[in-house]
C-alpha cells in the first residue's frame, strides 16, 4: 500500500512537470504581457502546480506507512519518466547516454524496492 502511494505521488509529480512545461509552451507565443504574468495566466501551469500539491499530500500519506529511506529514492523516477514523456509529447531528443542513465537510475530504484524483501 505504501509503495503504491509512493508511486502515485511520483507519477503525479511527473504529470505536474509535463503540465507546467505545456503551459509555458502554450503561452510563449503571447507577447502582450510580461513573462511573469504570462506564466501565471497559463492554465496548464496552474493545473501543474495544483497536481504537485496533490502529489505532496499523497507523499505525506505514503510516509505514514513506509520509511523515508525507502520512499525517497523513488523520487529519482521523476528524472527518469519526465524526459521519456517529453520525448513522446514534445518531441524532445533523448541522447544514447541519457537513455543509459535512465536505465541505470531505474535499476537503482528497483534494487531499493527489494529492501522490502531483504
Amino acid at each position: 500500500m505504501g509503495t503504491l502511494l509512493v508511486l502515485l505521488s511520483v507519477t503525479l509529480r511527473v504529470v505536474s512537470n509535463v503540465a507546467i512545461k505545456h503551459g509555458v509552451r502554450t503561452e510563449a507565443s503571447a507577447t502582450r504581457h510580461g513573462i511573469a504574468l504570462r506564466m501565471i495566466r497559463a492554465r496548464f501551469v496552474i493545473l501543474g502546480y495544483a497536481i504537485y500539491g496533490i502529489a505532496m499530500v499523497i507523499w505525506f500519506l505514503a510516509l505514514q506507512t513506509v520509511d523515508l529511506s525507502y520512499a525517497f529514492p523513488f523520487v529519482s523516477l521523476v528524472i527518469v519518466a519526465t524526459p521519456i514523456l517529453a520525448w513522446r509529447l514534445f518531441q524532445e531528443r533523448i541522447s544514447r547516454r541519457r537513455a543509459i542513465g535512465i536505465g541505470v537510475v531505474s535499476l537503482g530504484v528497483l534494487v531499493v524496492s527489494l529492501s522490502g524483501l531483504f
Binding site: F60, L61, D67, G101
Partner: protein, 139 residues
C-alpha cells in the same frame, strides 16, 4: 551609480562554476533534505490513516509537517535559482548527493535501519544520474 545588470550577467552565461550558483545548490540540497526529514518527523506523530482517510488527513497537519513543507518548498525554489546560475550537467549530478544525505539523516535522526539493498540502490541511482546528465551530447 550602480551599473545595470543585464539578463545575460544574471544568468551567469558562460561563467562556469560560480560562488552564487554553488551557494544556491548547497542551500537547495540542505533544505530539500531537511524538509523531508521534518515532514517524516511530523507524519510519524499522526495516527496511521488506515484509521480513516479524513482523520489521517487532518492529523497530518502539524507544526513539523508545515515547517517541513515550507523548508522543502524553499529548497525547490533554490533549485530554480541554481539552474539560472549553473549548468544542468553540473547541478543535477551534484544534487544527487541528497539521496545519500536523506538516507544518512533518516538513519541518524529517525533511527531507520540500514538495508544493504537501499545502500546499493542509492549508489546505483547516483551513478545513473551522473551518466544521464553529463557528457558532450547532452542537448
Amino acid at each position: 551609480m550602480a551599473a545595470k545588470i543585464t539578463t545575460r550577467e544574471w544568468m551567469c552565461v558562460g561563467k562556469g562554476l560560480n560562488a552564487a550558483g554553488l551557494a544556491a545548490l548547497v542551500i537547495h540540497v540542505l533544505f530539500s533534505v531537511g524538509g523531508q526529514l521534518l515532514i517524516k518527523l511530523g507524519v510519524d506523530q499522526s495516527p496511521d490513516f488506515s484509521m480513516g482517510m479524513m482523520r489521517g488527513l487532518t492529523s497530518i497537519i502539524n507544526a513539523q509537517t508545515i515547517i517541513g513543507l515550507a523548508v522543502y518548498s524553499l529548497g525547490t525554489f533554490m533549485w530554480m535559482v541554481t539552474l539560472t546560475k549553473l549548468d544542468l550537467s553540473y547541478a543535477l549530478p551534484a544534487s544527487s548527493v541528497q539521496y545519500v544525505l536523506v538516507y544518512a539523516g533518516a538513519w541518524a535522526v529517525l533511527g531507520e535501519p540500514l538495508h544493504i539493498s537501499r545502500v546499493v540502490g542509492i549508489g546505483i541511482i547516483c551513478v545513473g544520474v551522473v551518466i544521464m546528465s553529463t557528457g558532450s551530447e547532452l542537448r
